[in-house]
Amino acid sequence: MAHTTPAGPAVSAGPAPAGRSKRRAGTGRRWLEIAVFAGPALIVFVTFVIVPVILAAVYSFFNWNGLTPLERFIGFDNYIEAFNDPDFLQAIGNNFTIVIASILIQGPLAIAAALLLNRKLRGRAFIRAAIFVPYVLAEVIAGLSWNLLLSPNGFVNALLEMVGLEEWAQPWLANPDIALWVMFWILTWKYLGFAILIMLAGLQGVPEELHEAAAIDGAGWWKAQWYVTLPLLGPTIRIWVFLSIIGSLQLFDMVWVTTRGGPLNATNTMAVYMIVNGQTRPGYGSAIAVILFLISLTVALVYQRLAMRRDLGGAITRGVR
């Protein structure tokens, strides 16, 4: 989900390159070079990212089926309709349930696992690779696999029967009471390894000496983790929370291939609702897209204001070193 990371507010290309003044001669050629080098990327980017986003905002004010001319302007009616549709409200609720559950359940699990795994273990490379496997799979393929595992006559139910818990067996993804939590389990399976690896990477930045100092001061292992390691892991945790929130709000592929938002909207999300309605009514679907964007943006900005002020300047913009 890293490719959908919204930017921090203050991104900068850095100070101007130095020592270039002597080549100021031949300005025309310089601008030509700039145009030739940056032009193609800029054209592709503006045409296929910026223009569609602006079009979505425009379409959202029209009653439009995508085929006839764009002429039935209806103001905010699409937005009003969306917020009066219980299905859409439930989709928003489901998105936020996943956001909160991810932070409260996946986060602590990942941190605990990373703290335990952050040491010399035999087969460490193998362990790391293995827990990363679900993350590498396409969401679609992971979803299909779990569809098969969780089907009424699938592996999970058969396993429950084998250990004598057959009364627990059920059509997991077809039971509206639990489908959202089953979906959450699949997402946890898919993304926990990523969270653990990010936390492990963050722990690499915690100097070993600090642990030694804490140990000399008489702190036990748990105390050292709580008072020394966790605060230093803060930036990593905050970035992970951020990525997790954005990913959860945009959730589409996994739901689409497993349940299409069913049963009875139990697993519906904003993006699924948008595609279902937007195929025949691009105007209405675009209003959903704008709402989805504004919710993501608001949550991202609020979160950055509250939690990430100090981290973000370098974390996303500085890139790979």
Partner: protein
């Protein structure tokens, strides 16, 4: 986990006890949970439908190869594989070429609008493809690219550009200006400097960016769904994620074949991951750590 609490005070003096069986238990529990579903799909591809229906949690008995042979003998699997490769390679090359060129200008030229140019690309991070998908779909249709490879590749390039440029610009900036001055003294033009010095030096950054773009494209679903499936492209040219879902819907009764197709569809990503593990993990953690 509670057990370590009691052991902790004694352990802390020697830092950490390396051999605690509990640690291994936790580690391998996570490993088992991560890997078993994948193994299940793989193994059960080797079972006949009758065998699977008799006991969904059983071991292949006897080993049955027909599912894999059927999938491997079908046009649509190879077509999907080729399609995924075409789209992913096209996206990766496009992003790398356009990205490094734009990043070069932003990092190494001093001109009015430089910050603005960078900000435009950085702003792209705020617009996920989901939000733009419906108008993008219509735009692609109007350009006559519906149902074509380019209809998927070009938008994917566009949406991968922000990450690419944001990773590459600091990378290029870190290349010392003295190198350029030295090149100039030796008579190299700026373009010559770009080709002969900057490009080779920025390979590690390009590879990271390329791997990220490749994986993004390989796993992409929404755009192929809108452009290929809805655009009337023949099914045997759909990318793997799209092809495998279509296969699963179409042959939902043939569980064994679906399992075999799904596990074969996983294989390229897993092999690619094994080959590029360092880059992927490094790229992710680098981008997060800062």
């Amino acid at each position: 986990m509670a057990a370590t609490t009691t052991a902790a005070p004694a352990v802390a003096k020697r830092r950490i006890n390396w051999s605690s069986p509990l640690i291994y238990a936790v580690a391998y529990l996570v490993v088992v949970v991560s890997v078993v579903p994948v193994l299940y799909v793989w193994l059960n591809g080797f079972r006949s439908n009758a065998d699977i229906n008799a006991n969904p949690a059983g071991w292949p008995n006897p080993w049955y190869f027909q599912n894999y042979l059927t999938v491997l003998g079908s046009d649509r699997f190879w077509g999907s594989l080729a399609s995924s490769i075409i789209v992913a390679v096209g996206t990766t090359l496009g992003v790398a070429v356009l990205g490094i060129m734009a990043a070069f200008v932003i990092a190494k030229y001093d001109f009015r609008g430089r910050q603005g140019l960078y900000a435009v690309f950085a702003a792209g991070l705020m617009f996920p493809l989901t939000v733009a998908s419906l108008p993008l779909n219509l735009l692609i249709r109007n350009l006559g690219l519906h149902g074509s490879f380019l209809g998927v590749i070009i938008p994917q390039i566009a949406f991968a550009l922000p990450t690419t440029i944001i990773i590459l610009v600091p990378f290029l900036r870190a290349i010392p200006d003295e190198l350029e001055e030295a090149a100039a003294i030796d008579g190299a033009s700026r373009i010559g400097f770009f080709w002969r010095i900057l490009l080779p030096l920025s390979m590690p950054g390009l590879i990271t960016v390329g791997v990220l773009a490749f994986i993004g494209s390989w796993n992409a679903y929404l755009l192929p769904l809108l452009i290929m499936a809805a655009g009337g492209m023949p099914q045997n040219l759909w990318t793997l994620p799209l092809g495998v879902t279509q296969f699963a819907t179409q042959y939902s009764q043939d569980t064994g074949a679906v399992l075999a197709y799904t596990s074969l569809a996983m294989l390229p990503a897993l092999l690619f991951f094994i080959a590029a593990e360092k880059r992927i993990v490094g790229g992710l953690t680098g981008a997060v750590k800062g």
